[in-house]
Amino acid sequence: MIVGLFNYWIVILMMMLGFYVVIAANNLIKKVIGLNIFQTSVFILYISIGKISGGTAPILTEGVEIYANPLPQVLILTAIVVGVATTALGLALIVRIKEAYDTIEEDEIYLQDRTL
């Protein structure tokens, strides 16, 4: 059991580290990086689903019988793209926030909005 699930536990640990950075970080860029770590760990989870022992990459060749499951890989290709799209948008927002508030610390922005 430990061998079979060990991989997932490590992935979950990473996922939670990323999740923690997202919600606890005060710096907006750190938040975005945390989000990326969170998402990347989910990608690893998916790809792990697709692994089959003794299999190879799902490129069909003669003489090979067992292939990894291509479906999770396809889903994750899509999800990676979604992730980078979100990152790009988030970073662009950060640049504009910096220009408008002159800070990218969450608490300082909050203070500025309060005193407005």
Partner: protein, 492 residues
């Protein structure tokens, strides 16, 4: 004709990139409006075809499900498609004049492109029969709504969009985790196929956790208390059209997805029998009604106020769903429809005020009963709808909600009391505006500005009249909601 389900999504997807190339704002607007109207026509046809309970299935790429991606239109999804595309048609009509004063001209074609993408995303979520495809379209609609919100004039629009981006992505990632888990246990992503295969593995921790993650993910998206914190600022600082469009559609589509996962995929027995979902949902919804309504009373910015009121109204919808009876579920679905009309009407009316006065704080409303009589009349109709006065659409859905609660003994009484108290609170926050508008003298500048142009008033009044129409002639909407609820609960 058989390709209608695909066309419903492909038309806006096709129009969006073309829109980017159009340099002239009015051309881009005409294209967007034309597409929205076509979409409305398609959804009416689809709605009509599903009325008798037929389920339209469309195999994308010609690959039969579960190997390919399936589009699946049943009564409920046809109804939600109709709501979204109708609201889109009305708000898009409003957009042209409204954004002229809120967004710099150079960005207009970008704005319409994002609007079309958002529409396509929302429709795509509703129509798809594939769990992962839902995630993809959820991201299209989410990313485009972050963009749309950031078009707002004030700098707080940027922080609002960023906060929404972070929370929305956490929500979407949770949905991704949940989808991954159920794929792991069943080997399929098609919703109908999942419903068949899940019962076999129901009694596993993995499926239970998957369910929890999906529910939390969608709850963030639909702004259920206490995960609603992204909503008020996003709606308050977005351009007026965007507030109206998103408030009337985005959360509704998320609620639709929640219903879809609970009732179609996991099934009532699992969701409410094995998981303590009912208690949690009803408790949170009741808190949402109070917190939302109370916060609404203290807002000076009227768009903020309407946004908090949305949090409360979402509470009513979720209460209806969580009652799990045919009446309760149809009350929820009905309120989903009615609230879309009412909130759309209110936000558009505020958009008119914003257009004329340049802002929408309570001070801007002073004396508008005299200077902008039509706008304020529409606002009052919408306000009565929120309160739930008889002869407005809001009354009908609350009536059914109370009827459903009556079947539930003590819990039901608590629900009824909170619905009544919530309505009283709604009276309080709507009254503040009415008082400002009708019992104050207008400022000289406001008199000079006068009434909003017809191009803004007509869309606003379409929704105002719809609010009254569906309050008096309830048959159409009630039947649609009832039948959708029955096919969700009963034999498929």
């Amino acid at each position: 004709m058989s390709h209608l389900p695909a066309l419903q999504i492909v038309l806006p997807l096709l129009a969006a990139p073309i829109c980017l190339l159009l340099r002239k704002s009015s051309l881009a607007w005409l294209l967007a409006l034309g597409v929205a109207l076509c979409g409305l026509a398609i959804s009416i046809v689809l709605f009509h075809r599903t009325l008798n309970g037929e389920i339209i299935s469309y195999a994308m790429g010609g690959w039969e499900p579960p190997w390919g991606i399936e589009y699946r239109v049943d009564r409920l999804s046809a109804f939600v498609l109709l709501i979204v595309s109708a609201i889109a048609a009305v708000t898009f009509a409003f957009a042209n004049r409204s954004i002229a004063r809120e967004i710099p001209l150079q960005k207009h074609s970008l704005f319409y492109t994002a609007l079309l993408l958002c529409l396509a995303g929302l429709l795509g979520i509703t129509i798809t029969g594939d769990a992962f495809n839902l995630f993809v379209f959820l991201e299209i609609s989410s990313l485009s709504s972050y963009v749309l919100i950031s078009f707002g004039r004030e700098r707080r629009a940027l922080t609002a969009a960023f906060q929404y981006l972070i929370m929305g992505t956490i929500g979407a990632t949770m949905i991704l985790i949940g989808t991954g888990f159920i794929y792991m246990m069943t080997g399929t992503l098609n919703m109908a196929d999942l419903a068949l295969r899940l019962p076999g593995v129901m009694d596993t921790n993995t499926v239970r956790a998957a369910f929890a993650f999906l529910i939390v993910g969608f709850s963030i998206k639909l702004a259920l208390f206490p995960l609603h914190v992204w909503l008020p600022n996003s709606y308050a600082y977005a351009p007026s059209v965007v507030s109206a469009f998103l408030a009337a559609t985005a959360t509704k589509v998320a609620i639709y997805s929640l219903i879809r996962f609970i009732f179609t995929i996991f099934g009532v027995d699992f969701a409410f029998g094995e998981m303590p979902l009912q208690v949690i949902l009803i408790l949170l919804s009741i808190i949402a009604v109070f917190v939302g309504s109370l916060s609404a009373i203290f807002q000076l910015n009227i768009k903020h106020m309407l946004a908090y009121s949305s949090v409360a109204q979402i509470g009513y919808i979720i209460i209806g769903i969580a009652l799990v009876s045919a009446v309760g579920l149809s009350a929820g679905i009905l309120h989903l429809f009615n609230h879309a009309l009412i909130k759309g009407c209110l936000f558009l009316a505020v958009g008119c005020v914003f257009y004329q006065q340049g802002d929408a704080t309570i001070d801007n409303f002073k004396g508008l009963g005299k200077t902008m009589p039509w706008t304020m009349a529409a606002f009052v109709i919408g306000g009565l709808g929120i309160i739930g006065m008889p002869l407005t659409a809001g009354f009908v859905s609350k009536w059914y909600l109370v009827l459903a609660a009556l079947e539930h003994g003590v819990v039901g009484m608590i629900i009824i009391i909170s619905v009544l108290l919530g309505s009283l609170l709604a009276v309080a926050y709507i009254w503040r505006i009415v008082e400002a508008a009708y019992f104050n003298q207008p400022e000289a500048a406001a008199i000079e500005r006068g009434e909003a142009p017809l191009a803004l008033l007509i869309p606003t009044w379409i929704l105002a009249l719809a609010t009254i129409y569906f309050g008096i002639f309830t048959q159409l909407s009630v039947d649609a909601a009832m039948q959708a609820a029955q096919s969700l609960l009963g034999g498929k």
